[in-house]
Amino acid sequence: MKTRIYTNPPTTVNEKWINTPLIDAEPRILPRVPPAFGIPTDTLNDNVYMHFYETLGIGIDIVTETVFNYPYPYLSEKVCWPILHKRPFVLVGAAHTLELLHHKGFKTFSPTIDETYDTVDDAQKRFGMLTTEIHKICKLSLPDVKNVLLSFKDVCEQNFHTLKALKNNELNQLKASLNDII
């Protein structure tokens, strides 16, 4: 009999990494957004609607990925929302996640946003660098935020098309790698 290890309570995330007093936040349920801009309602999930609703009138997105203190760069659907809505973003996620995005063909927002946080493995230090950057952006006036947004118009447009092509690119890479095997 081999020994398996079970966590109690069951969890898939080890989060004991930062000495911050926890705050209980009241869950907030957002209203559904009515169909707009011809988005086919049957193909988009609630997340898209919520994010679309929240993104109107927003300059720069803060993406809080699924994990932060994690041994692998981790991409989920969360980073897709600012790309779909053509917004620059700051990524609160595992180290080297921006590097993975670059590897997938995306461009990010350095040097306007200091993205050296992505290279820092130490979670607490990385979190400090992220909050410094967020604080810096919050000190900008709204017209300045708009200017930042406009300065990244082409990058955001390119990222949007890279994202739309991502699945096909990955499928083609998978086919090619399988052809190499046998």
Binding site: T11, E54, D61, V67, F68, Y74, L84, R87, I134
Partner: protein, 190 residues
């Protein structure tokens, strides 16, 4: 063999792999705990597998890493189950978004062992990512956006880094600058 793939996993990916290999079992580590994996794999005897027979496993959930241990509990438990059932690890195709996770199998099995085939450079096998993207044709003119907040921060499930960020926003009075939502345990947000 035909499987009813869970809607979370892209059928296009599984079809490509099914055309190349004889897939006799398929599961998603997110939805299968240790005992379920044991029950699923106990139906198979890898001694009877031919060279092209494979078990297909998808892994894009997070894993639990104990301090100073370089492999996650899911990988460890999968390895233990396979040992227990005498399933050869090299009969597994492991598709994941965890780039570099093959090192965990090498730690457990050793460099000389016959390792699983690890495909670790894909993220769009998860339909949560790929379905909205393919159908999204929203035309946003950045120059016409009327900015009301510097930033947006949408947070789903309760996680330590989200609490920390929420603390930071409150303690620095940034809620007028950062449009913030925190859903807690609402629905399946993570």
């Amino acid at each position: 063999m035909h499987f009813n793939y869970p809607p979370r996993i892209s059928a296009t990916f599984t079809d490509i792999l099914s055309k190349k290999f004889d897939i006799v079992e398929f599961f998603d580590l997110m939805t299968h705990d240790n005992d379920t994996i044991f029950n699923v794999l106990s139906k198979h005897d890898s001694n009877k597998f031919d060279d092209n027979t494979r078990i297909l496993i998808f892994h894009d959930d997070t894993d639990y890493y104990m301090p100073h241990v370089k492999y996650g509990l899911k990988i460890f438990n999968l390895y233990q189950v396979c040992c227990e059932l005498n399933i050869a690890l090299n009969s597994i195709i492991f598709v994941t978004n965890h780039a570099g996770i093959g090192a965990e199998f090498r730690l457990l099995l050793g460099d000389d062992a016959r390792l699983p085939m690890v495909i670790d450079n894909v993220v769009t096998f998860n339909n949560d990512i790929s379905i909205p993207i393919e159908n999204f044709n929203l035309h946003i003119d950045t120059s016409e956006i009327n900015i009301k907040y510097n930033m947006l921060c949408m947070m789903g499930k309760k996680r330590v880094h989200r609490y920390a960020l929420y603390n930071f926003i409150l303690q620095n009075n940034l809620s007028s600058k950062i449009h913030t939502t925190f859903h807690g345990d609402y629905q399946n947000e993570d």
